[in-house]
């Protein structure tokens, strides 16, 4: 048996560790400054117990590898690479302490405490930012293949809607340019029905540029998904929608581009991207610099394609009208966002800098909580918790008198130890967690109640104070250990099997049980030992 001194030293040490674990402090961290590109020393405030989003407000997103457009074989690897990209993006995004972590089943969990613009947060996280430069279909391979495509679709049993536009395959919407028209030798089908695809297509001004009436874009998309269509497509050519649309007459048309399958360059070679406003036309633009290697490759490729049109494709959408390549392009370029706000250009620059996501990510769970709601929740939770704890103190003090107050003192240590345990485990305190903590105070006195009741029984049997206390602690032990261990085992199972919130709850429970056993058995016992030592002749005990 340890002496009182050793026990007090141990309790003191535990107290100091617990206080150290939960007191917020500042540390100096070396960090890369995104603007200057240099390492700077930043003072970071470490708050040991992070508050959950329900308490401080913010945006929560759960993302999964999007498998709706075909299965992704190694989703675990994909999600891990995505995690890095998302983390890089969010570090520049400006939210304090963003949380990015992978959880089970190839899922990515993103938390942005305090963020109040969920739409923007979603764009930053979800945008794939896959940038490509491709030459448009200069040889009109796609247009030449149109009759074949129509036939393949016809053979596959696709019939036109009947009221589809003009009867000739590719009509020249803008009329004028006859030099291009001579290439359009796709024989006009006599039956409207068989030209189901080409009948909704109109030739644009550039080679590889087509227009589709906005109301027909769904039809085109569904046709493109068919195997008959895919096998009939000319090799080396892909189709991409544009961000742009145009109004001609009473109808609105969307641009569809046929471009080469092989990209001249991808965004992997991008090194720097900045947003600015073009002083000439007041457009928002993103200027980018390529790496030296990328610059060389790009100069070579563009040198071979002078006078050709180059589509800038971002996440399967052609950005604006493809510009003509007048000369070799080196390591610099820009993407024109036209009249979109500058903030959009800044976000695009940010995601381009951080790199592309390897896969598409779909949001499966999102929550955005306003900051005032969190403040109200904290206020209510703390008020209710304080009243509850006050009631416990009252009951214990009245019923067990001085011993009860000893238990209450131990209870204060219990709360401190539990919070410290949660801080050490890196646990996030949520509203249910706060409720659980308040409730656990009510349950934590159970160990003390068991001991006190036992001491009273022993006293009733006529035992001396000293013996009764010894026996009381000894006999209550088996009940305390068995009940707490079985509860802890249940909690451990919950932790192993459960997810997110259930796991957090399990950790709170385990930490609470450990803290309650330490305080009730060890700390209260020490209090009694001190008490008995000071009053060796004590014949009655205040219990």
């Amino acid at each position: 048996m340890k002496t009182i001194r050793n026990r007090l030293i141990l309790i003191g040490a535990l107290f100091l560790v617990a206080v150290y674990a939960i007191v917020p402090r500042s540390t100096q961290v070396k960090q890369l400054d995104p603007k200057s590109g240099q390492m700077v020393v930043v003072t970071e405030r470490l708050v040991p117990i992070t508050l959950g989003l329900d308490l401080q407000g913010g945006v929560h997103l759960d993302l999964e590898v999007d498998q709706s457009q075909g299965p992704v074989p190694d989703c675990k690897d994909a999600i891990e690479r995505s995690e890095k990209v998302v983390r890089t993006r969010l570090n520049e995004f400006g939210t304090l302490e963003p949380v990015v972590q992978t959880t089970g089943n190839c899922r990515l969990n993103v938390e942005l405490p305090g963020e109040s613009d969920p739409e923007r947060a979603k764009r930053i996280v979800q945008q794939q930012a896959h940038l490509e430069f491709r030459i448009t279909d200069m040889k009109n391979l796609f247009r030449d293949a149109l009759p074949g495509i129509d036939k393949a679709l016809h053979d596959a049993g696709v019939r036109g809607t009947g009221n589809a536009g003009p009867s000739n395959t590719v009509s020249q919407l803008f009329g004028a340019d006859s030099s291009k028209k001579k290439g359009a030798k796709a024989a006009p089908d006599t039956t409207n029905n068989s030209a189901v695809f080409s009948s909704v297509l109109f030739q644009g001004q550039l080679p590889g540029e087509y227009l589709v009436p906005v109301e027909q874009t769904h039809l085109v998309d569904s046709l493109r998904k068919m195997t008959a269509f895919q096998t009939a497509m000319p090799r080396g050519i892909d189709l991409f929608w544009s961000t742009d649309s145009v109004v001609r007459g009473a109808r609105e048309y969307k641009y569809l581009y046929a471009v080469e399958s092989k990209a001249m360059l991808t965004g992997d070679e991008l090194e720097k991207a900045t947003a600015r406003r073009d002083p000439v036309n007041n457009h928002s633009v993103v200027q980018f610099d390529l790496s030296r290697r990328g610059g060389r490759l790009f100069a070579d490729a563009t040198g071979r394609h002078v006078r050709d049109y180059m589509a800038i494709i971002l996440d399967t959408l052609v950005q604006g009208q493809p510009p003509i390549i007048n000369d070799q392009i080196g390591a610099h370029g820009q993407i024109d966002l036209q009249s979109k706000p500058l903030a959009d250009a800044q976000d695009l620059a940010l995601v381009l800098r951080a790199g592309a996501l390897p896969v598409r990510l779909a949001i499966v769970d999102e929550q955005s909580i306003g900051p005032t709601l969190g403040a109200d929740a904290i206020h209510d939770g703390i008020r209710a918790g304080a009243v509850g704890v006050a009631l416990v103190i009252l009951i214990m003090g009245i019923y067990y008198r001085l011993s009860g107050l000893l238990a209450v003192a131990a209870l204060a240590l219990y709360v401190l130890f539990t919070l410290a345990g949660l801080a050490i485990f890196g646990f996030t305190l949520t509203l249910p967690g706060l409720a659980g903590l308040a409730l656990s105070v009510g349950i934590a006195v159970d160990a003390n109640v068991l001991i006190f009741e036992r001491i009273r029984e022993e006293l009733q049997h006529g035992k001396s104070v000293r013996l009764a206390i010894d026996e009381g602690f000894k006999h209550a032990m088996s009940a305390i250990v068995d009940s707490n261990v079985s509860t802890a085992l249940t909690a451990a199972i919950l932790y192993l099997v459960g997810t997110g919130p259930v796991q957090g709850f399990a950790i709170t429970l385990i930490v609470g049980i450990a803290a309650s056993m330490i305080t009730a058995i060890f700390v209260v016992r020490t209090f009694y030992m001190i008490w008995l030592q000071r009053r060796p002749d004590m014949t009655t005990v205040s219990i």
Partner: protein, 346 residues
Amino acid sequence: MFRLFANARYDFIKWRKWAYGLSALLIVPGFVWLLISPPNYSIEFTGGTQVQIATLDHAIGAAQIRAALDAGGLHGAEISSYGADTAFMIRARLGETNSGTQQASDSTMRAVRSSFDRGLGPTKYKVMKYEGIDGKVGKELQGKAFLAIFFSFFVTLAYLAIRFEWRFGTAAVLATAHDILTTIAFIKYMNLEISLVVVGAVLTMVGYSLNDTIIIFDRVRENLRKFRRQNLYDVVNLSINETLPRSILTHGTTFATTAALAILGGEVIRPFALVMAFAIFTGTFSSIYIAAPILMYIEKRWPGEDARGARILTSPMAMPAAGAAAASATQPKAAKAAPPTPSPAR
């Protein structure tokens, strides 16, 4: 020193049949009702879109909100007031066919905003909280919660089998299963929404109820050693009575905190606190009236080594003779040396 229920001598076990009836009265209608109308799952489990708004004008009620939504083409949304008279929860669940796409949730949110902007005015409301959840996440959560409870039963059974005996473990687990059933029925009666917080409360309840049962069983184990010739009926009754002051105290403090949470804790915590408040009652009830009688029943069917279960239900009055007869059959010498006493004399 003042003690509540000290040296109590209530015959708890006598009322067990009434207790079974009471349990059945609680559970059966609840589950019949559950069969008729499915439980009210929260958005975390069903998937869908949920928006919590605060109106900045007291004159705006649920009727105006519904009118605004209907005008915006969003029919059949659930609108409930949430705490204060200016706070409303609006929920639109995704249909079964719309297999949880974010686009659907996004467009719902946009439609809600635009119909409010038109119907209520953009300055008259504030979006406090917005949730959009894919249904499949909820299905996973549901499965995992049940799996966790199921596994925890096995571990408890194993631990109690080692520390006590399998008879005790089985009785404790059955009592806990009873508590889960009554709690589910309670959730239905109160028409509480089954959310993650409520599932958390049920899990807390499992731990709490188990804890309470073990405290009584620990005393039964001790008393079985102390009064070797005693009838199990009396030992169980005695143990419950001896632990009664502790039960009153612990349940009292727990109930005090729970009540404080239920009354003052706000809308998010209230369901948790209500379920816990009920859990305190059902956990205490089942430890006394379910766990203990089941232990006696198991002892009777599959008697332990001292065959005490075989004379479980002999009346306490007729005890000495029957006890002596049974004892003399097994251990004649010991029976002569220490005649059994009907009540523990100390």
